[in-house]
């Protein structure tokens, strides 16, 4: 395989950024939901 370093960097950065962005959304969502009274927590789509 050629360009292994670049491929690892490219795929690594892409998946790491997307995964941490998703994790940030989920954790922030949980933290905020805890601040609200139970009856207001529902935030359906759309």
């Amino acid at each position: 395989m050629t360009d292994v370093g670049y491929l690892v960097a490219g795929y690594g950065i892409t998946f790491a950024v997307l995964a941490s962005y998703a994790a940030w959304i989920v954790s922030k969502k949980r933290a905020l939901a805890r601040e609200l009274p139970p009856e207001e927590r529902d935030s359906r789509w759309p």
Binding site: Y6, Y11, F15, I25, S43
Partner: protein
């Protein structure tokens, strides 16, 4: 807060298809004649670029709907903002994967290629939009401002693209960029299907991100309201205590 069953299925499907994509892209597909293994950037770069246009497209449509009095609703503003944020993250990744790919095929990280340059301008345009979103103020005024800014940025895109394209073609005929081998590697068979799989997988991921980012936006909105109400209630209690005192 618990996610619904639909969202979970969506999330699982996204992760599964991304895993399949990684295997297809890095192991199963063959080398390219010219680019050798560097061609494997194709399978994430092209889907990411597609996602970028989808995300900003959603922002533009939602913003237009907000400005249309008949459909005006808070949800369109939140949706536009959520999609734009995902779009900016994705655009950043498009630039990163694009320049790493460029390093392997052209030998440099950056060239003033029409697409790269347009993408960079797009990135800055929507960074500005996100910055504007963060400015406080009356909810309705803010949403209108956001919607107008998003549309003003969107109508600029074709002009930016056209101008950058001319700029490059008129002034540098012989660039180090060999467009043919870069943009059109000989795609066939499993390579073609892997690109399609990549677009599908990233679209699933986008849907999951959008649903969850939108819910987060809605919660942020509620918490803000709640905080405001609480502050008002406290003020009122204070005032009552003052007047109640002798």
């Amino acid at each position: 807060m618990r996610s619904g069953i639909g969202t979970r299925i969506l999330g699982t499907a996204a992760v599964a298809s991304l895993a399949l994509l990684a295997v297809m892209a890095l192991v199963i597909t063959p080398q390219d004649v010219n680019q050798l293994d560097a061609v494997r950037f194709l399978y994430i770069h092209v889907p990411l670029a597609t996602l970028m246009y989808v995300a900003f497209g959603v922002t533009a449509i939602a913003s237009a709907l907000y400005l249309w009095p008949r459909y005006r609703a808070r949800k369109w503003d939140l949706l536009a903002g959520s999609s734009a944020e995902i779009g900016v993250v994705v655009t950043g990744l498009v630039l990163v994967t694009g320049s790493i790919w460029g390093r392997t095929t052209w030998g440099v990280y950056w060239t003033w290629d029409a697409r790269l340059t347009t993408t960079a301008v797009l990135f800055v345009l929507f960074l500005g939009y996100l910055a504007l979103r963060r400015v406080g103020g009356d909810v309705d005024a803010r949403a209108k401002r956001n919607a107008i800014a998003a549309l003003a940025a969107t109508i600029d895109l074709p002009i930016v693209h056209k101008s950058v394209e001319w700029w490059r073609t008129l002034h540098q005929k012989s660039s180090i960029l060999d467009e043919e081998t870069f943009l059109h590697p000989h795609i066939h068979g499993s390579m073609y299907w892997t690109v399609m799989l990549g677009i599908g997988a990233f679209l699933l991921l986008f849907s999951w991100l959008l649903v969850n980012r939108y819910r987060l936006a809605k919660l942020e909105d509620r918490v803000e309201d709640e905080g405001l109400e609480r502050a008002i209630a406290e003020r009122r209690a204070e005032a009552d205590a003052m007047t109640g005192a002798p």
